[in-house]
């Protein structure tokens, strides 16, 4: 049961029920405002009928030539609103925006330990394109999967042929 709407600045004062989740990062204010200013169409909220923020997605479009792609910067759903298909709703939206922008693919990074999320992305048609070593800093550092899904513009699905070797964080553009 969802209202889908663009993220607004005031939402930052109300998204605690989502962001208090330990794996959801709260960024500096300018990080959000830059996304809002630059890619507002990629920054959307799902809201419950009672007006509570259930989750949100933050993304951007970047890259040159055949690497022009949509990127998922953050996707998060409040623990109280999981298993309702909200993440899929938000991902569909991001893919649709990327299609309009004539992107070749959509990509995202996910902790290799986050099995729930990885499975969800797989169900949505994403494949593990490559492993990025020690992408998440922490104790110890953790690897990331770079997961991808081709858009319709990538007719031959060139962008989703998995790499056989992992890459290092500094080699990720």
């Amino acid at each position: 049961m969802t209202t889908l709407r663009p993220f607004t600045c005031e939402d930052m004062l109300r998204f605690n029920n989502v962001n208090l989740d330990p794996l959801t990062e709260t960024y500096g204010l300018s990080f959000y405002t830059q996304y809002l200013a630059h890619w507002p169409e990629y920054f959307q909220v799902v809201e419950s009928p009672s007006g509570e923020i259930m989750g949100y997605i933050m993304g951007k479009a970047e890259g040159h030539g055949e690497n022009w792609h949509g990127h998922v910067t953050a996707l998060t759903v409040s623990p109280d609103y999981r298993r309702l298909g909200l993440a899929a709703t938000l991902m569909n939206l991001l893919e649709e925006v990327s299609e309009k922008k004539k992107a070749y693919l959509v990509d995202l990074f996910v902790r290799v330990s986050n099995k729930v999320a990885i499975n969800m992305y797989k169900n949505l048609g994403y494949i593990v394109y490559r492993t990025v070593l020690e992408y998440y800093s922490g104790d110890p550092d953790e690897d990331a999967y770079d997961m991808r899904k081709a858009c319709s513009r990538d007719i031959n699905k060139q962008s989703v042929i998995p790499l056989s070797h992992p890459v290092r964080t500094e080699d990720v553009d």
Partner: protein, 891 residues
Amino acid sequence: MALRSQHVHDGGVVERRLRPVYDWLDNGYNKKALQEAEKVLKKSPSLQAARALKALALYRLGRAQEAGAVLDALVEEKPSDDTTLQAMTMSFRESQQLHKVCTIYENAVKIDTTNEELHSHLFMSYVRVGDFRSQQRAAMAIYKFAPKNPYYFWAVMSIVLQAKETEDTTKRNILLTLAQRMIDNFISENRMEAEQEARLYIMILELQEKWEDIIKFIESPLYGQLIPGSISQACIPYLKKLGRWKKVNILCKELLYDNLDRWDYYMPYFDSVFHLMKENSNEENIDDTAEKCHEFICQLVESMSSGRTLRGPYLARLELWKRLSVEGDPTALLGSALALCVQYLRVFASKPCAVPDLKVYLAMIPQEEREANCRDFLTCLGFDENSEPETMDDIQRHISCLTAWRLTAPRPGTTDALQLAATLRRHYLRSLEKNMIKYSTTEFCSADSYAILAAHHYFYAATEQKSSKPILEALCLLELVLLYSPANYHVKLLLVQLYHLLGNALAADSIYRRLELKHIQLVSLGWLHTARADAACVPTRALQLLADLRAFHTHHAKDQSIEHMTYAYKFGTFEKVVEPPAPPAPLHAAHTDNRDLNIIVNWEPPELQDPDLRSRTFDQDMAYLRLTDALLSSVTLCTELAENKPIEEKMQHYEQLRTCVDTFSEAMEKCTEKYCVYEKITISGPFPSRIIGFVSSPVPYRELYSITLRMIGELSMNNTDKVHELCDQVVAIILISSKLIVQEIRYGAEDNGWSMRDRLESLSNYLQSIGVLTYLLGVCYEMITPTNTKKSKKKANRSVDQMQTIKLIDNINVTLQQAIASLEELMDLWPDYDFSVDLEEELTRMNINPTAPSPVENKLKLGLDKIIEDIQNILKRKTAYLKGLILNTNT
């Protein structure tokens, strides 16, 4: 904002030599930056970029005048290289001289006429000062030699802003027509290419209320190419504006058939039905009656495949009931609201969101009916309060039923609340014993909610009984839950709240740290801990917490305030230009309520909800801040009056002080009438504001502060008679206060844990007065021993009056020391918590061995010890300071 990114293109020798200057500046070493800039200037004294950076360093070192001189000279020279201009821009921005940025770029583009970069900086400089007309001119100027879309749309946006600004309707219409025509031309030449350009076009049409034109545009192929999302959905707001409800009705139904769960489609659908009901059009495919609407919802329910039941259609039925009930009784059509709610719960109880969804609709069941049938919620799936579900899914169902029951039942009396809390606790412990608590870093464990609900019931009992024991039980239980479910922030928030309820900010702090709040969260959740720390008598920690919050504000103010506008232009996101500049605005305006008060779940029935809590507590906190502000201003004026200046020069400050003290005194009187109220404590919101305790204290703070401040005013004017009279009054009132604070703190001594918070708050108000008075006495001595005589205090020649003044001030000093001494005695006898809980027994009985012992008793004890030790140290320092001030050796 880092400087670095702004000069990357400016390579070469200059860049290399200036790099260290940038490095120092970026890292806040302004002195080093200044030295480095001087070094560069020794070799090439005229280098403009180096001088601009030198000015910036000077400004940041607080040497604004020198910085200004350097900058003025540079402005005269009309520099046109970007490095210099950027550095000057930084200085002007930080010193709030934004119009000067316009000047330097106006000069620069005259020299380098076709430099796109300089022109766009000029445009941005107008954006910062809000000069829309100049913005438009600058944008068109660039577009002439660099015909790119963004520049064109900058110009259009600038026209729109002029239209929005003007109050002259004719001018507004002309400007909007112009803006629209500019885009119309662009569209006809097939040159519109970005989503935001299309959105700007819609914005212009909206401002002219050209709803038909907007719909036409949305239905055009161009829109579909540029903007994602459904065309029908995009049309709906404008169809509503046009009152074309039939169309809205049809479109929403189509959308809903494919998207059963989209609340933003149901809402306009209902709007249309309720409008069409009044029209009686009676068309077949239009839902214009409650019956047809219900029929449609039933179709949606039936259309769901058996595997996946969505909440949408079920909640829609509840919404229909709610809307129909405004003007009648929908029971004949839909059945009772109670039955609908129970049905909803029966279907969705396995989801954690079931009860939050239902909460809004439970309020529509009449209270009597709700309370009489509350057990229907509990039993609708075959559970009761003693059921022992065996699977995780059933635990969630059980919890949903229990919660819905508690939301509908009348608030229990103490015995019932305690009994229920014990039952719920047993459910949690049983889940633990049966290994149904699954540890995960990201997921909550369903059974945690048993404990949370138990904690709420312990809280109810505690507030009824005014007893700390149930809170101690809740704390022990919640700490246990946290051992097994470290991700559950609901548990952490409750712990912070309950530790504070028992007056232990340091125990609360141990959990608060684990919430790992950052950035904006420090603002929205500041009420939970930071705002309470000072009143809870933990000044050291309060200072750290407040420093973190201040760092956020300062950083934000520097980084963001105007720049979000320039960003919006840079990226062509025109909606953000007109959107209320939200991030800085609510944070900067001191009078905006930024608190997130919904974060702690409240399970009290609808009639016990307090809808005014937000505005009331905000108003109270603001009133307290205003009082403190007036007090602080008075103290500052006293400090200024202590400067060694002739009396005539001090007159102005003296008058200001009198006004300020009067303001404080009057405000205090008004607040005493207004805020002398009893406030109920709620588990989910802020506790009663500090102002209540402050103004209703038996200690006469109003007189204590205002008489002391007045005495200092008179002292600065050498009005000896008045001073002497007031000094006696100060002594008297310190003595009275010293007695009354003991009474205030001893009051309500039945349950030490329960009274702890109130006592510490009373103490914090009193400590503040001790601090202020001690400081003010320092100021007094400053006044009566001017600097030149200080070193030889015994030898100074003093008049009889002066001697008398010294004696009287010394007397205040001694009295204050006595007051501190009596407070120290009180601190030595400060009562401990009476710690007794029965959770341990229960654990033993159920044969559960937690992985760690309960930390609650220790946290409370150590926290309180530390609080008392801190206060004792503060008092010791005050006494030592006061002793050192005494002048008359005979005293």
